[in-house]
Every structure is written in C-alpha cells, then in structure tokens.
C-alpha cells in the first residue's frame, strides 16, 4: 500500500498536523481546542505518516511507545493535581504562574490546568496509537 502521492502528502502534512495539534492544545483554554482534540489531531498526523510507509514504523525504537505515552500522560495529570496540594490547597486546585509577555506568543498564562490538558493530550494520543498498533499487529503481520 504505497503510493507516491500519499507518501509526499504525508511527509509534509504529518509534521504540520502534529504542530497544529500543539497549537490547538495550547489555545484550548480560551478558544475551541484542548487536550482531547489536540491528541486526536496529533494521532491523525502520526497515523498518516505510518499509513504512507508501513506498519512497522509504529514499532521503531525512535517512535513514542503508546503505553509509555499513556503512562506519562496519567503521571502528568496526577502531578498537576499534586501541585495544588503543595500550595496547601485541595487536590487539583488550579495554580497559575503570573502572566508573561513572550515574543511570538504574546501574553502567556501558564497553570496547572494547562499541564492537566497536556496529560489528556498524551493519553488520547497514546490510546489512539495503541489501537492502531493492535489492529496493525492483528491484520498486517
């Protein structure tokens, strides 16, 4: 299942999708987007690349291991909850850094809800890739 058009499209569109997913993830707090959507976009980008090449791409060592993504995603969400505890608040209370002015991004506000969203992003990405991997193993080996 290799086609030149798909190959070339994937080579450009894949990374673009992954980059887009990060933007969607970041802007989610104020505009449509967020971890769920971002994770799904990233997964489509990666799957596009894999589709264009072959299934074994998903198992190469440089590729993110889906289970590792799932585990680190959960860990990140727990961490974002624990930070509230460290500040003497309840578990998962939102803690925000003061707003900063950064070049390109403008006014930036960072806080534990964003960190939590990063965790969601990782879990959704990991889940989708794991499903794809399981299907691939089932049908293409």
């Amino acid at each position: 299942m290799s086609s030149a058009i798909l190959n070339i499209t994937a080579r450009f569109l894949g990374p673009v999708l992954v980059l887009l997913s990060l933007i969607v993830l970041y802007r989610g707090h104020n505009l449509p987007g967020g971890g769920f959507i971002g994770g799904l976009i990233a997964a489509s980008g990666i799957l596009l690349i894999v589709l264009a090449k072959d299934w074994h791409g998903l198992e190469r060592s440089w590729w993110p291991n889906p289970l590792l993504l799932l585990a680190s995603g959960l860990a990140v969400t727990v961490l974002s909850g624990v930070i509230g505890l460290l500040y003497g608040q309840d578990f998962m209370t939102g803690i925000w850094l003061p707003a900063m002015e950064l070049p390109l991004l403008g006014k930036v506000k960072l806080g534990t809800p964003l960190l939590f969203d990063v965790g969601v992003y990782l879990v959704v990405l990991g889940f989708t890739l794991k499903c794809a991997q399981a299907l691939g193993e089932e049908f293409w080996k």
Partner: protein
C-alpha cells in the same frame, strides 16, 4: 509512644525477614529472632511496670479525622498479657522455625509472614479505637490465610487456607457491623471509654444485635461450634505456624475480644446462655474429635478446640472467679500447647511421620524431646506442680460456685478428662511405649534450635506452677481490665484438701480410663462422617461457584452481538422506567423550527442509515456510517458547540481510517443472523430509538431546578482564567471526572493490547 515503637520494630522486621530469612546459617539464627525479642523486652521492661502501676498505657494520634478514626492505643492488663505471649512465644517460634525450615527455598516468606502476624497481633492487643482493632483483627486473618496456604502447590492447603479466611472473614464482617452499632449505642469509638458506659449499652434496644454480631466475630475467630471446622483443617500449615497461630495466639484473639468487651456487653443472661452453651458443645466436640484422630497435629487441634470451648464457658459464667480461672487456663494452655506443637513438629521432622499408630519408643532416640513433651503433657494433664494444675483447680473452684454447678462441673470433668487422655495419647505414648514398627526415617534427636524453645516454655510452665505468686501482678492487671474495676489477686498452688482437688483426682481417673479404652475410639476414626457444618460450608461454596459460572456464561458470552443486545435491552428498560416515573407521554410538545441546513443533514443521515443497513458491501456501510457521524458533527456545530463538533469529526475520521485498514482482512460481509434474529434486533433498535427521542422531547418540558451552566460560564474567565468554558470544565472545574475518563481510556488500551497479544499467541500455536 511506646506502643508505636513496638509496632515500628515489628513492622520493620517484616521486610528484613523477607530479605535475610532465606539463607540458612548462624546469622539467621542470631538476627532473625532479635526484633521479636526486642519487642518482648520493651513490653516486659518498660510497658509492664507502667501498666501494672497505673492500669494502662495509652497513645493517640489523628489518623482519618474526617471519619473520626484515631490511631488510638490503650495497653491494659489484658493486652499486656496477650502481647507478652505473642512476642515471647513468637521469639521462640522464630528460633524453632530456623531449625524446622532449614534451607527451604521460601523460608524467608514464612518468617516475613510470621512477623506480619506478630505485628497484627501486637497491634490488636493494644488497639483502643474499634476500627483500629478491626484493621488488626482482619490483618491476623489475612496473615493466617497466607501461612496456612504456605505449601501453595498443595491443593488441600490452598482450600484449607481459603476456608479459614472465608469463615473468619465473614465473622469479621459481622464484627465490624457489631462494632459500628456498639459505637453508636455508646457514643464513642474507644474501648476504654465504652467500658464506662457498659450498662447503657446493655440496656440499649439494639443490645441483642450488638451481642450477636460481636460474638459471631469472636466465635469464628476462636473456632467455636458451629464454626469449629476450619481449625483442624488449618493444620496443613507448617508446624511452627500451627504452634503459634492456631493454638497459642491467633485463636485466642476471639477469647481476648470477649475478655476485653466483657465490661461492655458481657454478664447478661443472654451472654451467659450463648457462651456456656457454645463453649460446652465446643469443649466436648473438640475432645471427641481429638480422640478419634491419629495424626499428632490433629489430636492437638482437637484439644485446642476443647480448651477454647472451656475458656468460653468460663467467660460465659463471668464471675470474678471464672475470669481468673480463664486467665490462668489461657496462660497455661499457651505455654504447654505451643510446646506440644513444636514437639509434634520435631517428631514429624525427625521420624517422617505424625501417625500415633506407628510412633513409639522415641525416648531412646529423642531423649530431650521426650522429656520436654513429658513436662508439657503433665501441665496439660493438670498435674501438680505445673501451671496447668492451677488452671484446672481454679476452673473447678469457679464452677462449683455457680447455680448450675452439677451440670457445668460434669461437662468440665468430661472435657478435662478428654484433654488429659489426649495429652497422654499425643505426648507420652509416642515416646514411652514400646516400638510399634518401623518408621519412615531413622529417628534421631532434633537440633538445638528446635529444642530450645519448647524446653524453655515447658520449664517456664513448671516454674510459674511452683511459684505462682510471680504471676500475681499480671493476673491482677488483666483481671481488673476484664472486670472493669480494680482488683488484687493472689493465686496459690496448694489450697488444701478441698472439692476441686477431689474433682481433679476424679478427672485423672476418668482420663486414664479413656486412654485405656482408646483403641475402640480409634477404631471409629475412619468412620466419623465429615462434620455437618463442614458440609454446609462446602455446599455454600459450591453454590456460589456454580452461580458465578452460570452468570458468567450467560452475560459474558464473548459474542459482540449478544453484548450489544443486552446493553440495548437494559437501556430500553431504564428509559421506559424513567418515562413512566415522569408521567408517561403526556405534556410532550415539539417546539422550535429547523434551519434549512438541518433539514438537509437530517435527510442525508436518514438515507445513509438505510444504506448502511441494506448494503451488501462492507465499504459502503462504512462510508454510510461515516456520513452519519459527520451529520452529527454538523448538528453540534449548528448548536454552537465547536469543541464537540471538532472532536466528533476527528473521531469519525480516525475510526473510518482505522477500519478501512482492517476491512480488507475481514471475512466476507455476509448475513450471519437468521431472519428471526434480524427481526428481533430491528424491533429492539427501532423501539429504543423512538423512546430515546421521546425521552429527549420529554426532558424539555421538565423542570430540573436551576441549571449550573450559567454559573460555570460566569466563573470560567473570572475564576479559572479561561474563555473556553467547555475546556475549563474539562481540565479545571471537573478535572477529577476527566481524570477518571483518561484512566478508563488507559485501561481500555491495555485491554486492547492484551486482546491483540493473546490472539498472536493463538496464531503462533496454530502455526506449529
């Protein structure tokens, strides 16, 4: 703080034993018993003087303040007695275990579990808060489970371990319920405070329930009839475990509980009747059981049952004299029974058998063990000057003072006579009679590590028998704690020629007669039917298993078709119920209008649906379903929910892509279902669909109170610094819900992974 140090030492010993307990050598012999011995010294040297002078040592720290559970400890005389027995005998058991286990590859597990048990039991002895008590109580059951099932490759041992766990665990549940009721009735969770309001609890309307539930816990733990059957089966544990848990300490936990709660719920007419009846049956049953056995450990298990029954009788009568007698008997029994079990273990270890029918003349080859057994047996037979004699004398002294003296005394004489004859059968005959035939191994003396512990306990039993006043302070403290008021106690070995002494002589005579006639009792051995309660247990367990199998087969059929059918049917039933509850089909009106876009989407979706159902090509069905998904996304967008719409489109796309990947590998797209099944499924889906629509329409006419959505929108930017309220709800307001969802996602991913892996395994096997 002392209580915490004690628990800390024992808790720290668990991992240490697990790490260093495997290598057989002098180092293990020296180091392993140290924590237990340190705990014993701490108790004897620091806790004991304080308890004896001031009545108790207490400590309290906040544990779960939201639930009012404090880590409250209160070491009184009773607890001190129990803790001393646990750590003292525990030290000797660990030394014995060193010799007994030798180089067994899993000996470290045994030692770690023994320490876990010691930790639990010491905590139990000191706990003041009912819930803390309960936690330690259950921990003893759990450690007992692991220890009985130590030979885990033996199915019998596993079954027996499970039996003990289920029986004591169910009793534990009853106990917890009883504790909760008791705490509510007495308005306190602390045993030390509850003892002050005992009369209030005894007069409480729920006293009956409290008493029955608490006694269920105590009776299952202390193997009282009809829950006695697990104890003889627990003998499949290694012998150090039987000596420690199932004779000297754990089975005493139930007795200890009854002692401890005596001032709170004891002494009423109901208490007396329940305890004396149950105790009497257990005493006689245990004696007869022991007489019918020829396995050394099972004989001893029978006497343990008998003694537990006897203690329960004494507690049931519950005068000062009885409590004292019970305490003396308990100490005496702990000393001689642990000894006899260790002796039985040594005999088993050195001769290869525990069958009393072939054991004989071991005094020649095992002289030390023979003497130790003799000392312990004398104490058990209640001969002077051993401590067992005092136990028996004081028991008779208490029983003849009771109004039903003739009946109780008769039961006690029969019981004691049987215990006496069992002592002869298990601990004297194997050593002193003539040889009975060849043994599996050539017998020789046990190593010193296996002689030291029993020797010390046997000599100790003689020492405190000759100098009983050494026990006076401890007994006074324990008795005061059990009675609920301060008392001085003085016990004497020789009390002159009185009725108890004559009863003792009668017991001796009766016991020796039983020994002489024991051959016909033994001939019953093969004929005893399994006990009725044992059969009831088996029946219940099988019933539960059968039910579990049946419902698994019915619900988890493995066919996707069945799962969807069940889920949809249940949904249908629930929707119907909801509709009926909110007044059926009345008040439903369709309001509002549809935009042209919505009309087009609705038409497209309906056509796609028909196409998906009717088509003969899998790819067409797939695309048609995808179209429905995109239609839903459009509806979301129309109602200004961009986040939902985007998610829907992405999910739909990914699903189609993944499915398209697999579609070529699937078998041909046939119609596997019969016509009738198809009709059934179609009817179910249509009815469910219609009802869902009705429910949605209906819900618009209902007033559910003010919606939270307005408040959330208001707070979103002001309090959570986010303009996208959907996202703020997901990651901030309801972050824990989201967290739950992503955990579910992870679990699902692991499930998919294992499904794929298991299929791979099947394929590989098929290729071979």
């Amino acid at each position: 703080m002392l209580t915490l140090y004690l628990l800390g030492i024992l808790a720290a010993a668990i991992p240490l034993a697990a790490v260093f307990g495997r290598k057989n050598g002098l180092l293990r012999l020296v180091l392993l018993p140290l924590p237990a011995f340190a705990a014993f010294l701490l108790l004897a040297g620091f806790a004991a003087p304080e308890v004896l002078s001031s009545g108790s040592v207490s400590f309290s720290a906040s544990w779960i303040p939201q639930l009012g559970v404090d880590l409250a400890f209160n070491l009184n005389g009773l607890g001190l007695l129990l803790a001393l027995l646990v750590t003292g005998i525990g030290t000797l058991i660990i030394i014995y275990g060193h010799g007994y286990m030798g180089s067994h590859p899993h000996s470290n597990r045994l030692f770690a579990l023994l320490y876990l048990f010691m930790f639990a039991m010491t905590g139990l002895a000191m706990a003041d808060h009912l819930m803390v008590f309960f936690v330690f109580w259950e921990l003893t059951s759990v450690s007992s489970y692991f220890l009985i099932g130590f030979q885990h490759k033996d199915k019998g041992a596993r079954d027996n371990a499970l039996q003990a766990l289920l029986v004591t665990g169910l009793g534990g549940m009853a106990l917890m319920a009883g504790f909760i009721l008791m705490a509510m009735a007495g308005n306190s969770w602390l045993i030390s405070e509850l003892t002050l309001v005992g009369d209030e609890i005894k007069g409480h309307p729920q006293y009956f329930a409290i008493l029955i539930l608490v006694l269920l816990g105590a009776f299952t733990k202390s193997a009282q009839f009809p829950f006695h059957f697990w104890l003889p089966n627990a003998m499949s544990a290694p012998t150090p475990v039987s000596a420690y848990l199932h004779s000297a300490t754990m089975v005493k936990a139930g007795i200890f509980l009854m002692f401890l709660l005596y001032p709170i719920i004891g002494g009423t007419g109901l208490w007396t009747i329940l305890l004396t009846t149950t105790g009497s049956i257990t005493l006689l049953l245990g004696g007869v059981y022991g007489l019918c056995q020829y396995d050394l450990k099972r004989i001893l298990a029978g006497t343990t049952l008998a003694v537990l029954g006897l203690l329960t009788i004494l507690l049931g009568i519950g005068t000062e004299k009885d409590i004292l007698a019970a305490l003396i008997f308990l100490i005496g029994h702990a000393l001689y029974k642990a000894t006899l079990f260790m002796v039985a273990g040594s005999v088993d270890h050195e001769t290869g058998t525990r069958d009393t029918r072939v054991l004989g003349f071991l005094r020649k080859s095992m002289p030390w063990t023979a003497v130790i057994a003799l000392l312990a047996a004398f104490s058990k037979m209640g001969l002077p000057p051993f401590f067992g004699f005092l136990g028996k004398e004081y028991t008779y002294k208490a029983s003849i003072a009771h109004e039903w003296q003739w009946l109780l005394t008769a039961i006690l004489i029969v019981g004691n006579a049987m215990i006496l004859s069992l002592a002869v059968k298990a601990a004297i005959l194997p050593f002193w009679r003539t040889s009975q035939g060849s043994l599996p191994k050539v017998p020789h003396e046990a190593p010193w590590s296996m002689r030291a512990g029993p020797l010390l306990l046997a000599v100790g039993g003689m020492f405190i028998g000759i100098f009983p006043h050494t026990m006076d302070p401890l007994l006074s403290a324990a008795k005061s704690a059990a009675m609920g008021y301060s008392l001085e106690t003085e016990i004497k070995l020789w009390q002159g020629f009185n009725i108890p002494l004559m009863l003792s002589a009668l017991t001796l005579l009766a016991g020796l007669t039983i020994v002489a006639r024991n051959h016909w009792l033994e001939s019953w051995t093969t004929r005893i039917p399994e006990s009725i309660s044992g059969r009831v247990y088996k029946g219940l367990l099988n019933g539960v298993m059968k039910f579990a199998n049946w419902q698994t087969r019915a619900l988890q059929s493995g066919y996707l078709h069945n799962y969807i059918f069940i889920i949809t049917s249940v949904t249908l039933v629930l929707i119907t119920f909801k509709l009926w509850r909110f007044g059926g089909l009345s008040n439903i009106e369709v309001t509002g209008s549809l935009s042209p876009g919505m009309v087009i989407v609705a038409v497209v979706m309906t056509v796609s649906l028909v196409l998906a159902v009717m088509t003969k090509s899998r790819l067409t069905a797939l695309l048609a379903l995808g179209l429905i998904g995109f239609g839903i996304a459009y509806i979301f967008a129309e109602f200004s929910a961009p986040d939902l719409a985007i998610t829907q489109i992405l999910v739909e796309t990914l699903t189609i892509v993944l499915f398209a990947w697999a579609v070529f590998k699937l078998p041909e797209f046939g119609r596997p279902s019969s016509r009738n099944t198809l009709l059934r499924d179609a009817a179910l889906s249509i009815v469910t669909g219609v009802l869902v629509t009705v429910l949605v329409l209906k819900s618009q006419t209902l007033d559910f109170g003010s919606a939270i959505s307005g408040t959330l929108t208001e707070w979103s930017l002001a309090k959570a610094y986010g303009a996208n309220v959907v996202n703020v709800i997901l990651v901030d307001f309801r972050a824990i819900d989201t967290w739950g969802e992503i955990v579910v996602l992870t679990i699902a991913a692991i499930g998919i992974w294992s499904l794929a892996s298991s299929r791979k395994g099947v394929k590989k096997e098929g290729n071979k």
